[in-house]
């Protein structure tokens, strides 16, 4: 067996493997525990049922840019893409995502309720098929915050009672809202204040009081790592990440659900697929977003299913055996004080506030 023989064999294997799997479908998602939950709840049963081989691409973070480039190069290699609602709206506006008729192309609820009614107001765009509700919220180290555990989001801005580092996402969204809320602005006034230049300055001034104690994060995995290290005493991240830190990794961390910000995540199908690929993608979507499948996903990750009819079916965690309902951001006990990501506001003001925020960061 020499090198050239080895190379010939591997090449032949590669090519034949390539030819054998014409039933491939590339599904783009976020990676990590989230992709794993989709693998278990959607991909595996779907492959079993249809024989389609699903390839996972963890590129959702740069989905908009990549889809634009693919479209320009006339070479779209993705079949179904998992994106946050804001990205779905952007892609839909640019004509990069396929418009869906939610009632005819998605499964109705078991009791016959139409899909558009079942998803309700979570259908924020014609191209968007909602999948989960997640929230951005805070976790804190139970052993590092002193005797009185924080119960309000304003503990983040309270250096006197909770001295130490805290981690916040390196972008204005959510942080500005929390800052105004803790500066005494009433919750339903927050966006009215944030519209004005003075309001933006006011939010930044509030953030300025804790600037020296903030560690800025950009990836969802940063805050869990910082909390596990004890480098920060509290930090914001996605609630599913905190669930994993608390229940799976058994770290001394607890949730601070106050003023959590709900956001949506779901599927889009890229525009410009061949008729055959589009048909397969729609078939997958029909299967993966029915009531039972959405409830199944909650067995693997603590994100709330987007269908109203799925909520009663949420059961126990597949490995840990604990009840998942109390860990859902939508659970009544956790959802006493919540924001819903304000798509319209941020679509209009994001560029301006982003520039201000970045300038403030660099000071």
């Amino acid at each position: 067996m020499n090198l050239s023989k080895f190379l010939v064999t591997t090449t032949a294997l590669t090519l034949s493997a390539g030819i054998a799997s014409s039933q491939d479908m590339t599904i783009v998602s976020w990676g990590g525990a989230y992709s794993k939950s989709q693998l278990k709840a959607y991909h595996e049963p779907y492959s079993e049922k249809t024989g389609v081989n699903i390839i996972n691409d963890d590129s959702s973070a740069e989905a908009v840019a990549k889809l634009r480039a693919m479209n320009e190069a006339n070479n779209v290699t993705w079949d179904v893409v998992d994106v946050v609602a804001a990205d779905a709206m952007r892609l839909c506006d640019e004509g990069l995502a396929l418009e869906i008729d939610h009632d005819t192309q998605l499964a109705p609820a078991p009791d016959g309720t139409s899909a558009s009614e079942d998803f309700g107001e979570l259908i924020v765009s014609d191209c968007f098929i909602p999948q989960i509700v997640y929230s951005t919220t805070f976790g804190y180290r139970t052993d590092l915050v002193g005797d009185t555990a924080p119960t309000s989001v304003c503990a983040v801005f309270d250096l006197e009672n909770y001295p130490g580092k805290r981690s916040l996402e390196k972008r204005p969204i959510n942080n500005m809202e929390w800052a105004l809320l803790c500066d005494g602005v009433a919750k339903d006034e927050v966006y009215n204040v944030l519209e004005t230049s003075e309001g933006q300055d006011r939010a930044l001034a509030k953030l300025d009081t804790i600037k020296d104690s903030v560690v800025w994060w950009s990836a969802g995995a940063d805050t869990p790592q910082l909390l596990a290290d004890g480098e920060v005493i509290m930090g914001s991240t996605y609630n599913g990440r905190l669930f994993s830190v608390i229940e799976e990794q058994k770290q001394p961390v607890a949730m601070l659900w106050d003023a959590q910000v709900f956001d949506l995540d779901g599927w889009i199908i890229p525009a410009g697929l061949s008729a055959e690929r589009q048909k397969r993608a729609l078939d997958y979507i029909y299967f993966a977003t029915d009531t039972q499948r959405l409830a199944d996903q909650a067995k693997y990750i603590s994100y709330g299913p987007a269908r109203a009819s799925s909520a009663p079916l949420v059961g126990k965690h597949a490995d840990l055996g604990i009840d998942m309902a109390p860990h859902m951001p939508t659970d009544p006990n956790n959802a006493k004080n919540t924001f819903l990501y304000n798509y319209e506001f941020w679509a209009d003001y994001r560029d301006d506030i982003d520039a201000k925020f970045q300038a403030w960061l660099a000071q």
Partner: protein
């Protein structure tokens, strides 16, 4: 021995380096605990006191060691835990050794007797700088190794790990890499497999074309040699992200052509695109190393070979190739590493089916911070050490067989 005979005054002078070292250590230690000034003064004071006591009063090495170990060890035990006591015992041995090394002027023992004191100082400072550079280079790699056996899913030295308790360590991240864990999905092995398919093929192409280009460019009659050379080397000079953007559009068109007109399967086209792009990145390395070896190549050998009736192909394989082989091989190694390490171009050109190991590591870092990356890094470090050692051993063996002494 007259020199060593110490009066109290000279002992004070001699203790200066020890006090400086103590002060530096105290400052660093204080910095960690937020007490810089206290650390500085306590470090300086304690080292002065102990130096005067051990070297001036006690004057006995063994007894000093015993006393100091007891002293430091108790301090470590009281201040925190057992593992810090071990650290303090090691520190104590080093400290007492340093005291006697300085005060008894042992540092001159192995040096030429006529060196001035500044020359002696430079002798040790030089070694200290070399050691620091070495440490600077190797530490980031060494830190990774123990962390890859972490029982937790974080990049953190847990208290259990620091106490050397077996519960703190596990092989779970290695099992994840090998796809043996319940919750692992085989992504890592698939990525590894992709790297092992793409890198050798890209290397083969780069070595072939790079060597041919180098031989052609070394002929004096080729017109515009410099311009051609500059173009061929440009992938190495142009920022990777720029080449990658250009390649993305170029290879998209090529891929569409291969898929639609030639009718090759989508997945195979993906591999062809990535292999070709990586070959382009590897070619400059081969050209440069082979050109360098060709400088020492005696042209009259090819004329002699032709004189004996060999055609140019025979001459190339029988005469020229064996002589420039070292350059070809090292160029090939560079090309292989370029492809094996490459993350930017493959992210642009490849689709998920061609996900290579560096791409998977990048994703793992961004989305999860999973220690599986550290397990993979450890495996790669061990593999590359094995690979380089094998190449070196084979080289020595062939030199021995040819009757040369290994250099």
């Amino acid at each position: 021995m007259m020199l060593v005979n110490s009066t109290p005054e000279s002992l004070l002078t001699k203790s200066v380096p020890i006090v400086v070292a103590g002060a530096i250590f105290g400052t660093v230690y204080g910095q960690v605990n937020g007490l810089v000034i206290l650390g500085f003064s306590a470090g300086a004071f304690v080292s002065l006191l102990l130096t005067l006591f051990y070297a001036g009063v006690l004057k006995q090495k063994f007894l000093s060691h015993v006393i100091n170990i007891a002293l430091f060890g108790t301090f470590g035990l009281l201040s925190s835990s057992l593992h810090s006591a071990i650290f303090y015992v090691i520190l104590s041995i080093a400290f007492v050794w340093f005291i006697f090394w300085v005060t008894e002027a042992k540092y001159r023992a192995n040096l030429l007797p006529y060196l001035s004191s500044s020359q002696v100082a430079w002798h040790y400072l030089f070694r200290l700088i070399c050691g620091a550079i070495f440490l600077f280079l190797i530490t980031p790699i060494l830190v990774v190794l123990p962390l890859s056996f972490n029982a937790q899913d974080f990049f953190t030295f847990t208290p259990e790990m620091l106490r050397f308790e077996p519960e703190g360590y596990s092989l779970k991240h290695y099992r994840d890499f090998l796809g043996l864990r319940v919750d692992s999905n085989g992504e890592w092995l698939r990525a590894f497999q992709n790297s092992l398919i793409i890198a050798p093929l890209a290397t083969l192409i780069s070595v072939t074309f790079g060597t041919l280009a180098a031989i052609g460019l070394s002929q004096s009659h080729v017109p515009m040699r410099r311009a051609i050379m500059a173009i061929l080397i440009s992938p190495m000079i142009v920022p990777l992200i720029i080449s990658a953007t250009g390649m993305f559009f170029f290879y998209s068109d090529m891929g569409n052509f291969l898929e639609e007109t030639v009718g090759i399967n989508k997945n195979a086209v993906g591999y062809i695109k990535v292999v070709l792009a990586h070959a382009v990145l590897g070619i400059p390395f081969v050209i440069i190393t082979v050109t360098a070896t060709l400088v020492g190549f005696d042209r009259s050998l090819t004329r002699a070979s032709a004189n004996l009736g060999a055609n140019s192909i025979t001459t190339f394989f029988r005469v020229q190739m064996p002589l420039i082989l070292p350059g070809v091989i090292s160029g090939g190694l560079f090309a292989f590493i370029t492809s094996f390490d490459e993350v930017v171009v493959v992210m642009f050109i490849g689709s998920a089916g061609q996900k290579t190991l560096p791409w998977q590591m990048f994703l793992g870092l961004r989305e999860q911070i999973s220690p599986t990356i550290l397990a993979v890094a450890t495996i790669l470090v061990v593999l590359s050490i094995a690979l380089l050692s094998t190449v070196e051993l084979l080289r020595r063996r062939s030199e021995r067989l040819r009757g040369m002494s290994p250099s």
